[in-house]
Structures are given as C-alpha cells and as structure tokens.
Amino acid sequence: MMENIPVLSLTILLPLIGALISFLLGKRGHMAKWVALIFSAAAFILSLALAYEFVVDPSSAAAGEIEGYSNGYQYYESHVWIEAIGINYIVGIDGISLPMFVLTTLLCMLSIIFSWDTDRRPKEYFGLMLILEVGVLGVFVSLDYFMFYVFWEIVLIPMYLMIGIWGGPRKDYAAIKFFIYTHVASLAMLIAIMAMYFEASLGTFSMEAIATQSVDFSRGMQVAIFAAMFFGFGVKLPMVPFHTWLPDAHVEAPTAGSVLLAGLLLKMGGYGLIRVAIPSLPSGAEDMVVVMAVIAVASILYGAVLCLAQNDLKKMVAYSSISHMGFVLLGYATLGELGVVAGVFQMFAHGLVTAVLFMMCGVVQHKCGTRLIDNLGGLAKKMPIAAALMTIGFLASLGLPGLVSFAAEFMVFAAVFFKWGLWIFLPIIAVVVTAAYYLWALQRSMFGPMTEKIDLSHVKDVDWYEGLPVAILIVLIAIFGVFPYLIFSRIGPAVEIALRAFGGG
Amino acid sequence: MIPIEYWLVFSSLLFCIGAYGVLTRKNAIVVLMCIEIMLNSANINLVMFSSYHSVLHGTVDPSGQVFTLFSIAIAAAEVAVGLAILLSVYRRYQTIEVDKINILRW
C-alpha cells in the first residue's frame, strides 16, 4: 500500500509545515493550537499506518522485496544532498526506531492537547513544539551521520527556548545549563563522527557504509571513538555524574516541555547508543562494558536514592528518570540480545510512563499552585480522578507487573544475571527504593488529611485536556504491559542485526 | 651596480626606524609618519628587486616599479584618511596622543 510513498519524509515534513503555518499566523495566534493539533495528529496517523504496514518477521517472503532490508531497514529513502563530501539524505526505519518513532508522534500530539490552555505566545509555543517533533523524528530515522547530527542539534533549540521563555523562576539558569551541557556532549559526538568519517575514508557519511569499515578499526581507535560517543549520548541519557542538567531543566520547563524532554530527548541518547555506537564499534563497546555497567548501576541506585530526598514532585520524577534510564544503559551493557532488547523496550516504556508522571505533576501544579510535597496532602479527596491517574502512573513507574515497565525491568535483570551473576543484587535494590519513594510521595501528597497550607477550596479535578492524554497513555501502558510481545517481536530482529558484530549476540 | 646587500640593509634600517617610531612615539601624527617610512622601505625593496630582476634575466619587466607607484598612491590616500580620523579624534578628545586614546579596552 505505501511502498511508493516516502512515508518517513512525509511524516517529518508535516510538523515542519505545521510549524511554519503556526509562525505565520500573525494576529490569529489562538488558532495555533488547532494547527499544531491537526499536523501532529496527521503525523501520528501516518506513523500508525507505517507501524501497521511494518513487516515484523524478517524471514517472511515480503521482506526480501523491500529495498534496504538487508540491514533491517524498511521505508528506505536515499537521495544525494551534498555530493562533494558525501552527505546523503538517507532515512529508514527498523524495529528499534519504530517504537521510538511512533512514541514521538504520539507524545507530541498528546502534549499539544495537554497544553490546550496555553495563552502566552501560543504561535511560538506550538510552532516550537512542532519543530521539536521534526528534530526528534529526524534523529530516529536518519541513517546518515551528518543528517543525524543536524537533526540532533535542531532538537536543542526549541527545547532551549521552551525552557527559557515558558519556564519557571530559574528558567535562565536552567535553559543555559541544559543547552551548554547537551551541546558539549554533542560536540564530543561530532568529534566521534568526524573520526569515524576520516578513519573509514569512504567519502560518505552513510551510517551503514561506515559501519562496514568501522568494525575493523583498531581496538584503540574504537575505544577512543566509542568513549566520545558514549559521553555524547550518555549525557543525554543522562548518566551519573553528568545528570545535573536534567532536574534543573525539568523543574523549570513547562509541563509539555518536560514531557517531551523526558519522553523523547532522553531516548535520543539511548537510541544513539544502540543505533550508532554499539553496532559500529564492537571492540570499543566490549572494552567499555565495565564502565557502562558501573555507570548504569550508579545511575539506577543514585537516582533512586536521590528521589527519596526530593520535596518537589517534579524533581522527584526527574530523578526517577535518571534511575530508569539507567536500566536502559544496564541492558545495553550486557551486549546480549536479551539485555539490549529489554533496554530498547525500557526506553519505550519509560517514554509512556514518564509522560504520565510529568503530566500529573503539571496537573497538581496548575490546580494547586505548588508541587512541594510538604505543602500538599489529602488531594485525593478533592481531586479523586487526578489521584487515581497519578497512582496508576506511579505504580507503572515502579515496575508493577501488568504495566509496561515490568517486562523491561525483569528482562534487564535476567540479562544482568546471565552476564554477571550475583551482581544482580546491586541494581535490584533499586526496585524497593523506587517503591518506597513513589508510595511515600503518594502518601504525603494525595492521601492523609487535607492540607491546611494551601487553599484547596477552589481546587477542581482534572480538565478534559489534561485527563484525556493521561488516560490514553494509561490505556497504552496497560496494553503493552499485558502484551509486550507486540513490541518485543519488532525490536528483536532489529537488535539481532545490530549485534551481528558480536558474533550473534 | 650597487650590491644587493646594501639595498637590503638600507630598507631594513628604514623599516626598523619606522617600526621603532610606531611603537614608541606618542603623537599620532608622528606614528602616521613612521608608518609612511615603513611603507617606503617596502617600496624601495620593490623597486630594487624589479631592477635586479630585469638585469639578471635581460628582460624589461617594470611591474615591480608600477606596483610601487600603486603603493605610493594608496599611501597618499591612507594618509588622507588617517589625518581625517586624527582630526576627528582631536576634536572629540582634545588630544592625539595614542596612549590617552584607549577607550577600546576590555
């Protein structure tokens, strides 16, 4: 059905058109949200169609006829862009990028719905959101290092502006910190890309072409390049100790910004590692396994412990992201198919769950005017639906079976035990700590007697535009929790290809 | 012919005198004059190499000397612009001593 249509390019283009229209609305700024909704919804529908048509089973007969399938990519498009230095426009999607791709279009659409009542400079707000969507989508489908880098940097700017313009009291500090931190990281990545380009000396930036050469680089070269890439992607992930930009950015960012930041931008780091760093530089990855594992476990435990100490709901959720993204890194560090698949699935799961959490923090902020746990209490009585949604979100995040995170966490633990044996007891402690900080926060903010510290008499329950996105996400969390097979079956073959260099995983 | 070393030493001396003046004198007009001296040392070199070139190769190639004329013309224009700037500076600050005119610092 869609063989002859450049679906990926179209999906990337739609939000871009939407953004341009939104910027050009002039005095009709109140229309911006409709423009944004229509274009993001169109992109979402297109991505759904794409996911539906995606060939799951690589061995099926149809797979042989798809161009570029040898590397697992479908909807492959390749055009020359700048011939002189070998820059091409190459996009393609495989089982690793597919969940991320759909997640991106979904979260962007839902955050646009969630920001329905934004009346401060709406043209710019919604336009920037769409630009962000373009950038993230581009990162997830680019198969050319140059394009990858360009899209990667495109993402930074709208996020910087969102924090800087629509942010909280310390927005300037947070925005600059976010920008410089992640920009330094992308420079490390750029150096790594350049190193690979010149070392491979193929005169092309194509990821697939370079990957065929880079697996044979000398071990020292691979380790050096991998280290640079690991730093570049790891800061985005974020990994301890390069994580402090995240809580600040989240605390200051507007809710939708936080949703996209945690739901998508963090995934770019994890995606980069598995798309670029690990498959292209197998020896480098092998030498860095211990570093990766130690950092991952440190992130998991350290993030979890820090959550306990937080008084700001949103900051707590931000630290929990560090902890949960640590599972992604830990899964990757096993360098086995089980762990890597689980890591990719954890990214998807975390994207869904963390969006719910940040949205609910936003709801509390909007309705009560504060997110400080000390000032909250007994909200369940006033806003039962919000309390229920928040409880489900917290439970999903603490890895309750039947909800989406559990499958990922369990498989990561299994992979860790397979590889490192009884070291499993270190990261597994985080499961208890996670339960502790979520439930404790729930107890103090939602349950107990109603607080006297803030005026709750006019507090209303969630509005439709807040409840609807959260409800949609929760339904998805439940569906993929009960049927993780739907995602695993798509990630699996792609990861198998990505790990070919490791001798079949 | 006068040996080439004489010329080179002469123009180097001229250049050093000019540079010394540029670096040490306070009066901007004197600095400008010193710059002219440095320029002229370069002109001497051009003329000298041009004539040596013609003699040694037995060809007539006046391009070096033409270039000198070009340079002198430019220098004249430059002096005009420079003096004009100095005049404006003097009007604004009542001085043309270069170490007093340091508002472009930090």
């Binding site: 035990f417 208890v432 349950f447 | 540079a19 005119i101 472009l104």
Partner: protein, 653 residues
C-alpha cells in the same frame, strides 16, 4: 472442564471492569455490590466444577492452552494454566471465602456510600488476580499476579486514605512485601538462567532440576522462599501485617487472613520439587516458620486491639504452615512421606475458614461498637448472640479442640515436625516451639473472646446484632470451621489427595482408612500433650479474664514487666524498621542529595564560574593601547620566525 479454568479469573475481572467503568447512574444496586456478588459467584461455580474435575482425578499440568507473553532471542515466555490438587485446595479457599466476604461486605460497607464503588472494584480486582495467581503455570506469571495481589492489598489497606495511619500502613505493607518480592524475582531469574524456562513443567521435570547446580539451587530456593517471607508475613518481614489492619475488616478477613497471605505458603508448597533438592533451604524454611509462630504468638498475648490479636494470630498460624512445609520436605526426602506437606495444606485450608470467620466476627463487633479496642468492649455476648457464638466456634477451632477443624490440622503439623526430628534434631526444638505456640494460641484467643463478649460493658455503646447479610456468611463459615477437619476422612482422605500433587517426589502414597487415621492420631501420646496444653490455655484465659478479681498487675513488675513492655512494643522490630527507614535510608538520601547539589552540581557550576572568571582575567590584556598591541604583534612575529627558521629544522620536522 479444566481447559476452561482460565475463565475463573475472568468473571471477577469483568465485574471489576463493570464496577469501575460504568457510569454512576447506571451502576447503582448498592453501587456495584450486585456485580461483585455475581462475579464472585460465577467464579465460585466454575471453581467448583474445576475442583470436581480434580477430585475425579484429572489434572492439567503443563499441557493446557498457552499464551505467548514475549519472545526474545531464544527465550519464549508463555502463560498458561496449571491445575492440580494443590491448585484445587487454593481454589476452594479463595472461592468460598471470597464469595462469603463479598456477601458480607454488602452489610459491612453499607454506610460507605461514596466509596462502596471503589471498594467493590478493588475487591473484585483482588479476587481476580488471586485466582490468576493460583492457576499460574509458571513462576513469572505467578510473580505478576503476586505483585498484583500486593497492589490490591495496598489499595485496600489504604481504603480510608485520609487517615494518616492507613495511608502509612498501606505504603509500609507494599514496601516490606516488595523486599520479599525482589528476592522472589532474583530467585526465578536464577532458575531462568539455568533452565531457560520458567514453566513449572520444565522446571520440575528431572531435566530442569538437574540443570541447576547445587549451590545455585539452594540460593534460588531460599530466594523464592524469601518472597514467601514477605507475602506470608514471616519473621523478620512480618510487621506489615498487623499494620495492615488499618483496612476494612472484610479486607483483613479476605486478603490478610484467608487468601493473599497464604500465597507465600502456596508458593513454597508449589516449589516443593525444587525445595527437596535443597535440604538446607528446607531447614531454613522450617526455622523461619517456627520462629515466626512463636514470636507472633507472644505479641498476641498482650495486644489490645481486637484485629491486631487476630493479625498476630494469623502470622503465627502462617508460621505453623511454613514450619510444616519445612519439616514436610525433610519427610519427603528422608522418610518418603508427604505427611508434612499435606499437614501444611490442610492447616492452610482450615485456617482460611476459621480465621476468616474470626475476622468477620470481629468486623461485626467493630461495626456494632465502633472501636477496635478490646478494653472498651465487654458484655457483648448478650446483645450479639450469633456473632458471639460463631466467634466462639472460631476460637475453639483455632485453639485445637476436637473435633473442630483446627485440632486435626494442628495435630498433623506437630506430628510431622516431631517425626522430622528423627532426621535433624533441630526439629525437636521447633516442635517444642510449636507446642508452646499452641498453648499461647488457646490463651490469647479466649482472652480475646472473654474480653469482648463476657463480663460487663466497659464503655458506653449501643451494640446490636448485625444484619442478615452479615450473619449468614458467619454461620456458613462457622459450619465450615466445625466440619472442614473431617475431609481428612472423606474418600482416600485429604492426605492422599494433597500428596498426589507431588506424587513424583516420593513413592509411599499411603492410603489409610478413616479408622487408621483416627487410631493413628489418638494412639499417639503427643496428641494429648498439645490437647492438654490447649485446654490449659483456655482455662488460664478463663481465670484471668472471666473470673473477676484477678490482679493482672503482678505481671507489670520486674522481669515480666520488662517482657510485657517488649511485647507491647512488638519486640521493637517495628520501631527498628522505622528507625532504619527514617534515619538510615532517608538520612542517606539527604546526604546524597546534598552531595548532588553541592559537589556534583558544584563542579558543574564551578566550571561555568571558572569560564566566566578566566574571561574576566584575560580581558584585562586588552588595554586599548594600540602601541602595546603592535609591540605584541612584532614580538609574536619574531618568535614565529625563530620557530620556523631554527627550531623546526633543528627538530627535523
């Protein structure tokens, strides 16, 4: 019939969906009670059919319908159903107690107008996932439901969430059981590595068992039992259960007495094929069980909250079951007999009935009096005849007086422990602990009964008998508490029936006649030891709490005074955990937070500061003096010339 067993959890789950999602106006009929009873009854009927099938000798072990949960690499995780005699026993418990509690709730929760709906939804979800746990055919599936019953427990303990104590107890219950859960998870991951599958069919087969190295088998089984320690409130993770009494009494009866806390025992029993490979673990299981039984019983001696007495009693009885399982494993390994295993399951079933009965009676009392404190009660017997009589039945049953159900199973448990002493003398010590526990059980149960129903009212209340909706389930449960012990004699007997589920582990298969069993029990002098102790306990309680004028203050002095203080503070275990959580863990997190804020972020901000500062310093070089710039240019040019002309050729570049 068995292949439709997966429908059992579906009934309550549909009820849960209906109750939670139907619009408020259409729901009604007491806000969902009708749907709840319907769902529970549907599951009950289906369970009865399945149990009938199992009684007829059919089982479905590993050959039922499968559902693929996920596939990664060469690992495939499927879910299915596993029906054997052990499943059937659990189904009996869950189906009967679940249905009766839901009916009883119709009366008990009547006044919770706004909240009934949430209550019924959560109870239905619980019953559904509890059935799911029972019929799971692999450890991962079991773990999933295991966590979900924990979730329901959390939600229901915190039912009155505006009470700080309830909100705190709910959280505490979830976190403490989660400590056990991660051990469970680690245990099954170990098995997963060596066997490559978590299906019981693969794990329990000879190949599966052989694939696991011996030390890993000990570790894995101990960790899996760790899950049971959390869920079944065994020492040292038992303190959440008394706190869990903050929930509605029906919840305590269903979740925290009859079903969910039994899940740990069920898990241990289910893991028998693995446990018998690791006798060290069996010993560990038995010791934990014995210690738990004793410690919990001692605390129950002084508790004044009627529900806490029952909660500690539950912990103590769960300890009994665990002890029996530990001893039973030894019997399977060394004596080729399933006696202890059957005894544990027998006690599990009987205990579910009489403990649910006791809790529901307590609920009836609380409903009437409006307090949990037994010191405020007294003299209720006249006003609440049915409740007091049915509770008396429960108390007699748990105390172990024949012919009520508790006697038969408790005797079997103690006999199994004693006979295991033949192979490891530690069991004799555990047997003494068990006997002491039996004595204390009889005492505190009757202490509770006398304090509640006998004597004169100690505070001002207007008690009345509960409505029919509540008393009828009480009477049914009382009848079960009286008679459920007799299944020992029906057909081949309970022992043979339950033993069949682990029939591949031993060869004995004793099919005794009813007369044999009777003579076995009453021919054994040990039976009379426990019987006499139970009667003594009852008489002591009668002397101390019924006959007026007994001066109890003698216990408040000296050594016994200190002991009493320790008991009233629950052996300080709870306080230790609180201190650990607040001072150690939270303190550590505060230190880590400060570290993050000032050290890590300090370094980051330090770099920014350094950049800004160094720029500030370096810009001073821009003096604005043209001649200085020029001098620098000249010097630089000279240096460059020297470098190019002399240093580069000298270095040979």
């Amino acid at each position: 019939m068995l292949e439709y067993a997966w429908l059992i959890p579906v009934f309550p789950f549909v009820a849960f969906l209906l109750i939670s999602l139907l619009p408020k106006r259409t729901l009604s009929w007491e806000d969902g009670a009708g749907y709840a009873i319907g769902g529970a009854a549907g599951a009950l009927i289906l369970s009865a059919l399945v149990i009938g099938d199992v009684l007829a000798g059919n089982t479905m072990v590993g050959d039922g319908p499968k559902f693929t949960w996920l596939v990664v690499a060469d690992i495939e995780v499927t879910f299915g159903i596993w029906i054997d005699q052990l499943t059937a026993i659990m189904l009996v418990v869950v189906a009967i107690v679940g249905t009766l509690v839901v009916i009883y709730s119709g009366g008990y929760m009547h006044e919770e107008a706004e909240r009934r709906r949430r209550y019924y939804a959560e109870i239905m979800l619980f019953i559904s996932v509890m059935y799911g746990l029972v019929i799971s055919d692999n450890y991962l599936q079991m773990f999933i439901f295991w966590e979900l019953v924990g979730l329901c427990s959390y939600l229901l303990i915190g039912f009155w969430y505006e009470k700080p104590s309830a909100a705190s107890a709910a959280k505490r219950a979830f976190i403490v059981t989660r400590v056990g859960d991660i051990m469970f998870m680690a245990g099954i991951i170990i098995l997963f590595k060596y066997v490559g599958s978590l299906d019981f069919a693969n794990l329990f087969g000879d190949e599966g068992v052989a694939a696991v190295p011996n030390d890993m088998m000990i570790l894995a089984t101990a960790l899996i039992f760790g899950g049971a320690i959390g869920k079944s409130a065994q020492f040292p993770l038992h303190e959440w259960l008394p706190d869990a009494m903050e929930g509605p009494t029906t919840v305590s009866a269903l979740i925290h007495a009859a079903t969910m806390v039994k899940a740990g025992v069920y898990l241990t029993a289910r893991s028998y094929p693995l446990l018998v490979q690791a006798p060290d673990t069996l010993l560990f299981v038995a010791v934990i069980g014995g210690v738990t039984a004793l410690i919990a019983a001692t605390v129950a001696l002084v508790a004044t909250d009627i529900k806490r007495v029952l909660a500690y009693s539950t912990i103590s009885q769960l300890g009994y079951m665990t002890l029996a399982l530990g001893a039973g494993g030894y019997l399977v390994v060394y004596a080729d007999s399933a006696g202890g295993y059957s005894a544990a399951l027998f006690h599990l079933m009987n205990h579910a009935f009489f403990k649910a009965l006791l809790f529901l009676c307590a609920g009836s009392v609380i409903h009437a009096v409006g307090t949990n404190d037994m010191r405020m009660m007294g003299g209720l017997g006249k006003k609440m005849k049915i409740t007091s009589l049915t509770m008396l039945v429960g108390a007699i049953a748990i105390s172990g007086v024949p012919p009520f159900s508790g006697f038969w199973s408790k005797d079997e448990v103690l006999a199994a422990v004693y006979s295991a002493g033949e192979f490891n003398s530690l069991f004799l010590l555990l047997w003494i602990m068990g006997i002491a526990t039996a004595f204390m059980t009889a005492f505190y149960m009757f202490r509770m009964w006398f304090m509640t129903f006998a004597g004169e009212p100690r505070s001002d209340y207007h008690a009345h008998e509960s409505p029919k909706l509540m008393t009828v389930p009480l009477m049914i449960l009382a009848a079960l508490a009286m008679t459920s012990g007799f299944v020992l004699f029906i057909g081949d007997g309970f022992g043979a029936f339950s033993g069949d589920s682990i029939s591949e582990l031993f060869h004995g298969g004793h099919h005794e006649s009813a007369a044999d069993i009777l003579s076995h029990i009453f021919g054994d002098p040990l039976t009379y030891v426990s019987l006499v102790l139970a009667v003594m306990g009852i008489l002591l309680a009668y002397r101390m709490y019924y006959v007026p004028g007994f001066d109890r203050s003698v216990f408040a002095r000296g050594l016994s005074g200190r002991l009493q203080k320790a008991l009233e503070n629950r052996w300080y275990i709870s306080r230790f955990y609180d201190d650990f959580a607040v001072k150690v863990v939270y303190g550590f997190s505060l230190v880590a937070d400060a570290f993050d804020r000032y050290v890590i972020d300090g370094i980051v901000n330090g770099f920014a500061f350094l950049g800004a500062r160094s720029g500030n310093v370096i810009r001073r070089t821009q003096t604005g003096n043209v001649q200085r710039y020029t001098s620098l240019i000249v010097v630089g040019l000279c240096l460059l010339l020297i470098f190019m002309l002399y240093i580069v050729p000298w270095g040979g570049w």
